[in-house]
Amino acid sequence: QTRAETLRYVTGASVNTLDPNIPGSTREAFAVSLSTYDRLVSFGRKQLNGKWVFDLDSIRGELAESYEVSPDGLKITFKLRKDAKFQDGSPVTAEDVKWSLDRAVTAKILGKAQLLTGSLTDASQFKAIDPLTFEVTLPKPDKLALPNLATVYPIIINSKLAKSHTTEEDPWAQAWLKDNTAGSGAYILESFKPGEQVMLKRNDDWNRGPGGKQAFFKRLILQSVPEPATRANLVEKGDVDIVIDLQASDAQSLEAKGKLQVISTPQYNAMTFISMNNQMPPFDKVDVRRAIAYALPYDDMFKAALFGRGELLTGATWADGKPPSGAFPIKQPIKLDLDKAKAYLKAAGFPDGFSTTFSFNVGQSATAEPMAALLKESLGKIGIKVDIQKLPDAQMSTQITEKKLPFFTEGIVAWLPSTDYFYRNFYTGNQRWNYSSIDNAELTSIAQEARFEADKTKYEADGVKLNAINFDQMPQVPLWQPSQDAVMAPSIAGYTYQFHRQVDYRDLSRK
C-alpha cells in the first residue's frame, strides 16, 4: 500500500494493552481497541458549532444490525448482523456476545465499574436467544444502559478463540487478550510494541463504516512521541497525518500558519476545575470557597494556560441568579472581583487570609503551571498565601484518593455526559472522583433521582436544581473546557470528536 493509504498518528502517551479492560490502559489503548474490536452499538454524531462530535442520544448498531427497547424499558433485544465475522473468519454469534459481556461485568476488569453506571451488573442479565439474537434485561429502565454498551469496554470478543487461552486462574483470558486481539473490528493487528508503536492493517471484510464500507486507510501506524514540540514538527512537516494532543501554543501557531487543518472542538464532555477539599479547613467554609471563586483571574489564566483555546466556564450572567439550564458543565456567573472575594473571606472569618498548598500533576505542567502562578499571584492580593506543589502523577492520584489535598486542579471527563452522570460520579459519595469531597444530601438525592427520570422536562428541572446547589456550595471552581485540537494534513477528512477524546480511525479518510 502507498503512503497515501497509510495513516500515521503520533501521541504523547502510548498504547499499553490491546484489551481496553486491563487496569491501567491508556486512552491510546482505547483508541486502538475501538478499531480492532466491534461493540454491539456505537454513538452517532452530531454537529456542535459546526464541528462534528459524538452524540450520546443517537445510538446506532455496530455488530447489532438493529436493536429494540421494550416499552417498559427493561429489555433490550439486539439483532446481530449476519455477515459479521471475526478476524479469524468465524462468524460473530450471540454466544460470543454473551461471553464478552459476561466477562465485562464479571472479571476484575475496568468494564465492570463502567457498566454498572448503566445498571449492567450481572451475567444473568445477558441472554443469547439464538445465534443472531441477544437480549439484555435491566432491573430498572436506565437511559445509560445502551450508551454504556457503546463505550470502549464492552468489546465483543471471539469467545472460542479466547477460551482456548484461558487458564484456571484466568478464566477470562485477560493475560492473552492483553497482547492479542480476537475481535471483528475494522483493523487487524500487525505489530504491537507496548509503549512504542502499534501497526494495524485494514480488515477488508469489515463493512460497518459510513455507508456500509470498509475503513479508508489500508494501514495505521500509531507511534508515541513524548516530546510535544516534536509532534508539532512532525505534523507540520507532513510526516505525520494527524495529531491531537499538542500544546496549546503549538496548536495556535500551526493554526496561524494556515498550512494544516486544525479542528478545535471544546471538550464538551470534559471540564477543568480548581478543587477545594470541602471537608478540610479552611475550605470547609463555603465563604472561603466563594472568596476563591471571585479571586481568580479567569481570563488571564485562560489566555496564559490555554492560549484561549476552549470554552471558559465562568463569566456568565445568570438572570435572577438562577441557572439558565440543567445541562452540565454550565458556565458559572463568577468573575474576578477582589472586593467581593475579600468580603467573603472576611465573612468566613479570615480577614487576613491564610496559607495553603495548591497542587497539580507533573503531566499537566504545560497548562497548570502558568495557571497556578497566576492563581498564586491573585490570591496573594487577598492575603491567601499559596505554596505551589507539583506532584508526579501517581502521587497526585494517591493523595486525591486519600483526600489529602486541600487545593488543587484537575480535570474530569464523562464518556456519557448527562447531567446526573456528572453529579453522581463527581459530586457524591466518598470516592476518588468526588474531588471536592462534597457531601450534600440534597444534591445526592436529586442526582440519584434524576438517574432514572424518564421525563425530559422533569429531568431538566432536576438539572437546574443541581446546578443551583452546585453554584451555591461552590465545591470547586470550574475553569474551562479545553479544546481538543486535532491538527491534520489538509487532505484528511472525517474527523469527529469522540467521547474518549481520541481519534476514531475508522472515520478518517484522505481526500
Binding site: A232, S249, V362, I388
Partner: protein, 282 residues
C-alpha cells in the same frame, strides 16, 4: 594563600587568558546573584498577561514569557537560586565526601571496606534516575533537589578524597604529626584534609556546572523547583518547548545564562587544576 601561590596563580592566569575570563565571569555571576533583587528591572513573578510572549524589545530586553513576566528579570533573579543550588549541593557532597573519604583512606580496614561497598552500591545506580527518584519521593522542593544532587555526587568525592588521602597517609609529615601526639582523627581532619582540599576544589568547580545542568534536567522532566520561582533550568525546559513556535527568546536567554555559568565554572575548574597541578609549576 601564600604570596607564592598568588604569584603562581597570576603567572598561570597570564598564560591562560581563558581562565582569567572564567574567573571574572564567575565573580560576576556571584555578584549578580548577591545583588539580583536590585538589578532586576521588573518584578520577576509579576504577571502581565496582556503583554505575554513579547519578543525582546527595549522595555523587555529578553522578551516576556507566557504570563507576560519579564524574562530578563527572571534570569537575573534566578542566578541567586541556581548558584545556591549548585553551591550547596556540591558543598554538601564535598564536605561529606571529603570527611568520609579521608577517614576511609586513612584508616583502611573494615570501615574502608564497608564504606567502599556503600559507594559501590551508589555508583552502580543509574545516578540521574536516582536523583529523579529521590526528588519524586521527597517532593520537588529546592532542599530536596540539593540533597539529591549532593547524594549522587557523593561517591565521586568519597573516592577522590579516599585516594588522595591514601597516597599521603604514610608520608613523613603525617607520621610526624602522630609522633607529635595527634590522634588519628585529628590527623585526618586537621592535617590530611586541608592538604587534599585544593585538588578537591578543582573537582568542585567542575561539578558546579554539572549540578546546574542536573537541576535543569530534573526540571525538564517536571521535577524542578516549583513555580513561579524563576530558575534557569525550568525556564530553559519550558522555553525549549517553544522552539518550534518561534518564541526563541524563551529558551535562548535563560539557556545562555545557564551556559555561561556552566562554562565559567568549567573553565575555572580547568584553570584551577592547572594552577594547582605541580606539573605546571615551572
Amino acid at each position: 594563600m601564600s604570596s607564592a601561590t598568588l604569584q603562581h596563580a597570576a603567572f598561570i592566569l597570564r598564560g591562560n587568558p581563558i581562565t582569567a575570563v572564567a574567573a571574572a565571569g564567575s565573580t560576576l555571576l556571584i555578584l549578580v546573584g548577591l545583588f539580583a533583587p536590585w538589578l532586576a528591572p521588573y518584578d520577576p513573578i509579576a504577571s502581565d498577561v496582556a503583554n505575554a510572549l513579547q519578543a525582546p524589545s527595549a522595555a523587555h530586553w529578553a522578551g516576556t514569557d507566557q504570563l507576560g513576566r519579564d524574562v530578563f528579570s527572571r534570569i537575573i533573579v534566578a542566578t541567586q537560586l541556581d548558584l545556591t543550588i549548585a553551591l550547596s549541593a556540591v558543598g554538601i557532597s564535598f564536605v561529606l565526601g571529603a570527611v568520609i573519604g579521608a577517614l576511609c583512606g586513612y584508616t583502611g580496614g573494615r570501615l574502608d571496606r564497608s564504606v567502599g561497598r556503600f559507594v559501590d552500591v551508589l555508583m552502580a545506580f543509574p545516578l540521574f534516575v536516582l536523583a529523579m527518584a529521590m526528588v519524586a519521593a521527597l517532593g520537588n522542593r529546592v532542599e530536596n533537589i540539593v540533597i539529591a544532587t549532593a547524594i549522587i555526587n557523593l561517591p565521586f568525592y568519597i573516592r577522590f578524597a579516599r585516594a588522595e588521602v591514601n597516597v599521603r597517609r604514610n608520608l613523613g609529615w603525617v607520621e610526624a604529626a602522630r609522633a607529635s601526639g595527634e590522634s588519628h582523627v585529628s590527623v585526618v581532619l586537621r592535617f590530611l584534609l586541608p592538604n587534599v582540599l585544593p585538588a578537591m576544589v578543582v573537582q568542585m568547580s567542575l561539578n558546579l556546572g554539572w549540578a546546574i545542568i542536573n537541576a535543569a534536567g530534573l526540571s525538564f522532566i517536571g521535577l524542578g523547583v516549583k513555580p513561579p520561582t524563576p530558575e534557569w533550568g525550568i525556564m530553559v525546559a519550558e522555553g525549549a518547548r517553544f522552539i518550534s513556535t518561534g518564541k526563541w527568546w524563551l529558551v535562548a536567554f535563560p539557556g545562555l545564562a545557564l551556559m555561561l555559568a556552566v562554562l565559567c565554572f568549567n573553565l575555572l575548574g580547568d584553570g584551577l587544576r592547572d594552577i594547582l597541578d605541580p606539573r605546571q609549576r615551572t
